[in-house]
């Protein structure tokens, strides 16, 4: 397990990368396997980690990530390309995570994360910080937690979060404000 800066490529979202993405999508629609592979390579870590941050279970997250890509590739013809592909993938991921939680009532699982280890200079402090962070996030309601995760862990802009959650930007802003307020309160207590 590594920190996000190492693993996650910055795909959000220069004009060049948008052009590349369109070309990849066109090749995917034509059924080109290499294009599927390239898109997977581009987005799989993002999708996997979002699922992991919401489910806190590595195996469940991997299953969800696979389901997301299978669903996305099966319905690639329905993607109109008006928004960036990752917003669509994030929408599917959130839906899959909700469905998974409903089905399995996934419980928190810290063991997987600790087994893999971190890259920080003080692993013990990092592990403590992780546990505290997850504890504080757990105190938030699901909409607030999702908004905060998308903003702080995935670095999405307000507009991008609004697109993923299909909400007005103002609502996203208010949710984040409230999420930060509640998070801070819990964080200071811990």
């Amino acid at each position: 397990m590594t920190s996000s800066a190492v693993l996650l490529p910055n795909v959000f979202q220069s004009a060049t990368s948008r052009e590349e993405e369109r070309a990849l999508l066109a090749r995917c629609r034509a059924g080109e396997r290499a294009a599927f592979d390239a898109l997977l390579h581009r987005y799989r870590e993002r999708v996997l980690n979002l699922a992991f941050q919401l489910l806190r279970d590595r195996h469940a997250a991997e299953d969800v990530a696979q389901d997301v890509f299978v669903r996305a590739f099966s319905k690639i013809h329905e993607f109109r390309g008006e928004a960036a592909l990752f917003t669509w993938l994030y929408q599917i991921t959130l839906n899959e995570c909700r469905a998974k939680t409903r089905r399995a009532k996934t419980t928190l699982n810290f063991d997987d994360c600790e087994d893999e280890g971190g890259t920080g200079s003080t692993p013990e402090a990092e592990a403590m910080g992780k546990i505290a962070l997850e504890g504080a996030l757990d105190q938030l309601s699901e909409p607030l937690r999702v908004a905060l995760v998308l903003r702080e862990l995935h670095g999405l802009s307000y507009e991008e979060i609004a697109r993923v959650l299909k909400l007005p930007v103002g609502t996203v802003r208010s949710r984040l404000h409230e999420a930060r307020r509640q998070f801070q309160k819990v964080w200071e207590l811990e």
């Binding site: 397990m1 590594t2 920190s3 996000s4 800066a5 190492v6 693993l7 996650l8 396997r33 599927f36 592979d37 997977l40 390579h41 799989r44 870590e45 996997l48 980690n49 992991f52 941050q53 590595r58 997250a61 991997e62 990530a65 696979q66 890509f69 299978v70 590739f73 099966s74 994360c113 893999e116 971190g118 890259t119 920080g120 990092e126 910080g129 992780k130 505290a132 962070l133 504080a136 702080e152 862990l153 007005p168 930007v169 103002g170 609502t171 802003r173 208010s174 984040l176 404000h177 930060r180 307020r181 998070f183 801070q184 964080w187 200071e188």
Partner: protein, 180 residues
């Protein structure tokens, strides 16, 4: 006009404490398993693989795309449609018109033939007898008179039968025993 969202837009970007920001920044990320892509692509290909029913339909399409079979198929379909149409029409007619009330055939009671019939039979028998015996047949006036004894009603026949039986039993006791 000021909306609720405008109020939200005025909210300041609240900032989290440094320790929380550090925790977010250092939050560990997981890497996908090495065979992640392969498994996903296998599932995608499996999902795209046509089902057996689709293959069957494709095969049918292929067969009926040939000119002669196309014609035969169209003719068969036409016949089937015509048959179904006729059936439906007949069924509709049968349902819409009430069944005609059929009377039970009248029970014809066994009646004794009329006098006229009995007379003509009598005459016919007499004429046939005369022809067979080669004797001249002469019409007698009593032939035309109503003769009740010329024909026996069932009641009379029964009566006469019992009389005959009585006579038989009196004349021949063995015969009457055998009848019993």
């Amino acid at each position: 006009m000021k909306t609720k969202n405008d109020d939200y837009d005025q909210l300041p970007d609240s900032v989290l404490p440094d320790s929380a920001l550090r925790a977010f920044a250092n939050y560990p990320q997981i890497a996908a398993s090495p065979d992640f892509n392969r498994r996903v692509l296998e599932r995608v290909l499996a999902a795209r693989e046509p089902s057996r029913f689709d293959l069957f339909c494709d095969r049918l399409d292929e067969i009926f795309a040939r000119p002669l079979l196309k014609l035969l198929g169209a003719a068969t379909m036409g016949a089937v449609v015509a048959l179904i149409g006729t059936g439906v029409l007949l069924l509709a007619c049968g349902v819409s018109t009430p069944a005609t009330q059929t009377e039970a055939p009248p029970v014809v009671a066994a009646r004794e033939p009329g006098t006229l019939m009995a007379d003509s039979l009598f005459l016919h028998n007499r004429m046939a007898w005369a022809r067979d015996e080669e004797v001249p047949f002469e019409m007698q006036p009593e032939y035309f008179a109503p003769r009740e004894d010329k024909f026996q009603t069932p009641a009379r026949r029964e009566k006469s039968g019992s009389e005959m039986e009585d006579k038989r039993s009196s004349s021949c006791p063995a015969a009457s025993r055998s009848l019993v």
